[in-house]
Amino acid sequence: MMSFTRTVAFNSIKKLVKEKWHLAMFLIIPLMMGGLFSLISGSDGQPKPVGTLLITDHDDSMLSQLLVGGFKQGPMAEMFISKKVDHDAAQKIMAEGKASVWLEIEAGFAQSFLDEKPTVIKLVKNPSQNILPQIAETAVGVMADGGHYIQLLFATELKQFNNLLSGKDVSDTDMALMSVQIKHTMEDLEQQLFPPQIKAIKEKKVVKKTSSKSFVYLMFPGILFMSLQFSAQGMALEFWKDKSQGISRRLQATPSGLTQYLNGKLIASIFVYVLIALVIGVLGLLLLNLNISKLLIIIGWLILAGLVLGSMMLFVCLLMPTEKSASVVTSAMVFPLMMLGGSFFPFDVMPKWMVAIGQYLPNGYMLQSFNQWFIHDKSLSVLTIPTIIALAFIVVFWFINKSLLPKFVRV
């Protein structure tokens, strides 16, 4: 009679293969969704969108280079690609809308600054862009304010420094005096600023270490589980299709009975889960540089998770009075489960209250456990207890579904 279980499995697989689009939909929808989410959220391996900063430095002094250097350091460097161009080229590029912002520093900028004379820094913004030109304008404003305070505090020293830069002879005494003056100015400031009048309470905030993985990597388990849920639903609904075709009812009049039929269907669903794991897993190999051993573990985990979800979906299907209600109710379950269970959005970017609910849903629990190993790089042993729980869940639901099946077939 084992051969009948095998026959049921083969037949179900043959049917699925013949309904190519039905099978493909298990994969296409999650891959499409995952792809779209990744595009929206950006991904590693591709240049992040940055603005172009054009610089025309007519002064070409140390001070003007310091100013321009501000855009080449820290977070500003991540936002802007700086290009040094002459006035005409800059005008042309801006007219074509190919740059975010143009910074033009007039000749004599450094001299005017040191002489405490007014000077102009010209900033031309691309009107078709909002954020990056605004950031550049704010940054230049902060730099100008900084320069003003330096002028107020160190006017004498700047003059001496100016003489030094302009090649005038500065004696060692003047040099030493300049250093002493700077020191005194700092000491005066210190008296005003220290001890601090405002008591600062230093709070050591424990910041959760954010994953360094790309969004696509974070999304990968979600895509797998999305596919798994669609296929688990599809495979559960197969029982209704067989019922409406009179197959399962007639089977009751054969010596093979329904238990082997149930087992055959479960084997067919395992085939589908493996197929999903292989297709999406191979994409993972190519896009995320996963290794083969990881793929094998993914396949194993997906079989387990698929059986958990499939058992649950079958249980619901067997309780429904019609094929249509089974389809509607399971569809109504799938989407909230995916939303809360971390398939649409990775748990890491979900609100805490959603994670609190989602991690205890069957799909969320299986996905969260998987993520511990896959995303948070914990050892495989982290999957031991979830495996035991999943196996227990599958066995319990197998018995429940087996006992529901004869009534389901008869009614």
């Binding site: 026959t7 049921v8 049917k15 197959i247 009751q252 009049a253």
Partner: protein
């Protein structure tokens, strides 16, 4: 052999089968006749183990369907009223599936598949998907699935419903062949001509009870040699049917729109009957004469036509 003893099935207050007993011996076709809703399918479902009987027992080839289900089912083939086929798969793949359900495998199964395909005339279409088949071809395949394992007992629940003449002939010939090979067959139908043609023994069932049983000839005797005249029109004075009875006719139905009587030599006496009806009860719009057959018996026993009694 199929032995049905005091079989009853009720759903709450509704009695679907009421103390039904009959036997289909090996090499015999036993017809179970009745209108829709009479209890034929309930009887088939109880016999095949699809539903459990409230009371009574069913023996298939010596095995009780309730206590020794697996052995009883190994000896049983069921052709359900509704098709039970995978439309997406081919005829051959469907036969593989059902053969496997009956425990067949390998070359023995393949050999049987080819035999039954020939028996039902589908050998040249075996690789085609069932969804491309006509209704009659599907019915033939549905039948073929039940006989793969050479069952000692076969249940056929209205196997020719909606079937074209060619397919019907294929099916009837295949059933007769099984009978000749020693299979005990229970055949339900509401097509009287089919039952008269192939059944050795019959039981007429209505509202869950067997109201007549015996061979086709036994039952014909119950009808007598009288024919059925059905007269349609607009009639009155319905409280007095003695005028008709004076014609030595048995009045089966006497309503505003229809009068049905059983009478010997109906064609010779039709003018006499119509005169009485038009004179006493009203204008006649339509008349038909039906030769004495099982349908006449059913009408006599139940007062209702077989096909519209539901």
């Amino acid at each position: 052999m199929i032995e049905v003893s005091q079989l009853s099935k009720s759903y709450g207050n509704i009695i679907a089968l009421d103390n039904v007993s009959f036997t289909a011996k090996s090499g015999e076709i036993f017809g179970l006749l009745g209108p829709n809703g009479a209890g034929k399918s309930t009887a088939i479902n109880c016999i095949s183990g699809l539903i459990s009987a409230s009371e009574g027992s069913v023996g298939i080839n010596g095995y009780n369907i309730a206590n020794d289900a697996t052995k009883a089912k190994q000896s049983l083939g069921l052709v359900p009223q509704d098709l039970a086929l995978y439309e997406e798969l081919s005829a051959h793949e469907n036969l593989l599936f059902w053969g496997s359900a009956y425990g067949l495998s390998g070359s023995a199964l393949e050999q049987r598949i080819q035999q039954v395909l020939v028996d039902v005339g589908l050998e040249s279409r075996q690789k085609e998907a069932v969804k491309q088949f006509s209704g009659g071809m599907k019915r033939r395949l549905n039948f073929a699935c039940a006989i793969l394992h050479k069952p000692a007992a076969l249940l056929l629940d209205e196997p020719t419903v909606g079937v074209d003449p060619q397919s019907r002939e294929h099916l009837l010939q295949a059933i007769i062949k099984l009978k000749q090979q020693g299979t005990a067959v229970i055949y339900t139908t509401h097509y009287m001509e089919e039952a008269e043609r192939i059944c050795d023994n019959l039981a007429i069932i209505d509202q869950g009870k067997i109201i007549a049983a015996g061979t086709v000839n036994d039952l014909r005797v119950q009808v007598g040699e009288r024919d059925l005249i059905t007269i349609k029109g607009l009639f009155k004075q319905l409280n007095d049917k003695t005028l008709l009875e004076k014609l030595t006719a048995e009045v089966l139905e006497f309503s505003e729109g229809e009068i049905r009587i059983l009478i010997a030599d109906a064609s010779k006496r039709l003018t006499e009957v119509l005169n009485v009806v038009e004179k006493s009860y009203g204008k006649v719009s339509q008349v038909s004469i039906q030769q004495a057959n099982l349908e006449s018996l059913f009408i006599k026993l139940t007062g209702r036509a077989l096909r519209d009694a539901a």
